[in-house]
Symmetry: none
Subunit: 239 residues, 4 copies
């Protein structure tokens, strides 16, 4: 009997405690970047030292509480039951605080995605051949298929089919960049002649992964990924 509805929106005066899998140190280095909420970005445009000269600063605790609450609620009750009011209540935050920094629940999830992807989908700094590609693809498959992060990406990909603004955000702010980066790394690691060839290889590997996750709804399967890589990466046996 899966829980099908969200919980009561009773206040839950959350404080910095229980900020689960994202700790403040990580975030302080990267405050809400992707959606353009970033104030330092603005200031860098206007002046050198700038930022905001006076007044209170954004509450880091609130930001993290919101991101984590959204993540938790998404995993527990699903995207449809995810509401701004619910997130606010679960995070122990006022609704207006959310609207001040995010335009929609999609925006919040997007920030979560960027945060998670930043750590989970990194390429090694010094490429060292096809093994890097194998490792990356395994990491990608795991990211797509496992709990908090994959659920977010899945939801955003789904919602992007329904809402052009989400599609714009997801592609313009994440997928395009991700793909460009992946293509470049694949080209380097496999010593390919040009980006187009790298893109073909990348697609040949990623398309079945997306297909499995979004269309076939099959769970993450390491063996499947290995077989796929064997077939596409010059048929060199996986070990």
């Amino acid at each position: 009997m899966a829980p099908t509805g969200p919980p009561d929106h009773r206040a839950n005066p959350v404080r910095t405690a229980r900020l689960a899998h994202k700790d403040a140190s990580t975030i302080a280095a990267q405050p809400s970047r992707a959606t353009g909420n970033d104030r330092s970005a603005d200031s860098s445009a206007t002046g050198s030292t700038g930022s905001r000269s006076t007044g209170s600063r954004r509450s880091e605790a609130a930001r993290l509480a919101v991101l984590n609450a959204a993540d938790d609620l998404l995993v527990e009750y699903g995207f449809e039951a995810l509401t701004i009011e619910g997130i606010a209540a679960a995070a122990g935050v006022a609704k207006q605080t959310i609207y001040r920094w995010w335009k929609s629940k999609v925006d919040i999830l997007f920030d979560n995605l960027v945060l998670d992807a930043g750590t989970a989908l990194a390429w090694p700094e010094h490429p060292s051949g096809p093994a890097d590609v194998r490792a990356y693809v395994h990491r990608f498959a795991a990211f797509l298929g496992e709990e908090p992060a994959g659920r977010v990406l899945q939801a955003l990909l789904g919602h992007a089919q329904l809402d052009p603004r989400t599609a714009e955000l997801l592609h313009g702010g994440f997928l395009d960049e991700l793909r460009a980066r992946d293509v470049a790394h694949v080209r380097t690691c496999l010593a390919l002649a040009d980006d187009d060839r790298a893109a073909v290889v990348l697609d040949a590997v990623l398309a079945p992964l997306y297909h499995r996750a979004l269309v076939l709804r099959r769970p993450h399967d390491t063996a499947f990924v290995d077989a796929l890589l064997d077939r596409q990466l010059d048929r060199q046996p996986a070990r």
Copy 2:
């Protein structure tokens, strides 16, 4: 001047005219089958004469008006702006009439999908080799990438990522069946030994198509489909 919002929900007193691409004759043969709303299906199961003793029967005009209104509104304003009230108003139908026969807007779209797929994704009755597969895949790619029908499938696939009930409906009531049928036809047409092998070929072709449509958001491209088929069908025995 792009229309960015839905229109007023001003009444649009039901017009059987302007029922565009679905005419009554087509539909009368297949009334609202997929979601189990169908009364004739029920009655045929329970008895021959009985069914419903007295009273008027379901209005075919209303059913078509709803299906078409939903389709039109989806194409014009998108899934997010699609509401039961909006459909009712656009169809010139009472809200309750919709709720009597469908459970949600997803249900309505699903009926549309089944209707459209029934004609667009048919296999020839007498299989005649790989050319059938090529033709079918081309038809499928077109279906996925072109206006009313593809938009519906795309929306439902997207929504299935967000809502388990939609996923259940879409897979249990459409995709699984479609896939089974496709596998069988591919096996026959390509003279493959077993279904697993046919499934591998099918996935190898469909995965890139779904990937392009859902993840890369590239438009339908006949050349791409041909290249894909050349690559996957010529060296069928992939080992």
Copy 3:
């Protein structure tokens, strides 16, 4: 320790029970007249029998629950703490149901005022001399100074000082009519030559009453009213 805040807005699924001092029979004859919400008024403009040909009718229970809840909350917590949400919760009614029939809390109070004044400020059908005026003025003073009704009139008079729309509603929809009626009756009862003379007498009596209630904040005092009447009504002793 006076209660200074409103109670929790916990649902209070009120049903027709506890509809205090206004019973359905009274109201059925006069549904929400003053603010122009009345549908029969519309229909009388369009046709003879009319009203609304089909569909569900306005819920009398909801209307009474709202009016009484507003009254109760006003008396208990004051005008400032009176909110549409609070009324809805206390009446066990959805917010939208209130907005469907009233524009604001002022509108609701106004309906209450009209309702109460209709019974409390009636003149006898057959005028019989100065005694009628005395009786009426006493009734008016009591109305102004006692609980539910006076509180409403006081609040509306106060709010009319702050908001032109309230002033327009209160004067155009109630006070002007009341005054015209009062002038006419005073003229008849005192056998005065013209309306102007009657207005002077009426103002001479009412001004001190309003002054006491609104400016001096003195409680209702029968002796004061009698003395006032003695002075203004031809100095005939009050007995």
Copy 4:
């Protein structure tokens, strides 16, 4: 083109200029006395030079900007549209600066009222008979019926009907004192035997003025005041 809403709350960086009808010299002599926010009053009580040992003193410019902004906004957009945030923005002052010195917008208006009444409703220092009363009543009627000041008194009288705290402030801090002073002067000027008799005369004159202003909403009319005075002052011994 009547402006029906308040303007944007765009910052209006404090301008000491355009402080209209209250100049600094007037105010310096009487800073924010009535609500007890006054620091100089405190300091004058504690010592002569000392007052507040360190830190900056209250900004006179800010105080005046707030008072005038409140007045202007009240006159232009009405009491309902008057908000602390709006006043702060219009005055080019931080919200907290307002909250530091006043408890509510009513408090601000009250300070304005006391300020204006101090000059407009003064009695001559040396009473010289009934003519003084006539002059005072004319001044009072003008005060009640004309722009900035009358609007404030009207608003506060109205709000006092809705909010006990406002009533307490207005009566305890202004009206009672005003009335006591008026009664004393009337008694002296008309050579009446006791205060009660003076109060009766005063009420007989003021009640119709308040009635006209608050209930009948008639504009200020010198002829009406004269007629009223003729009637009430000539037959002073009303028995």
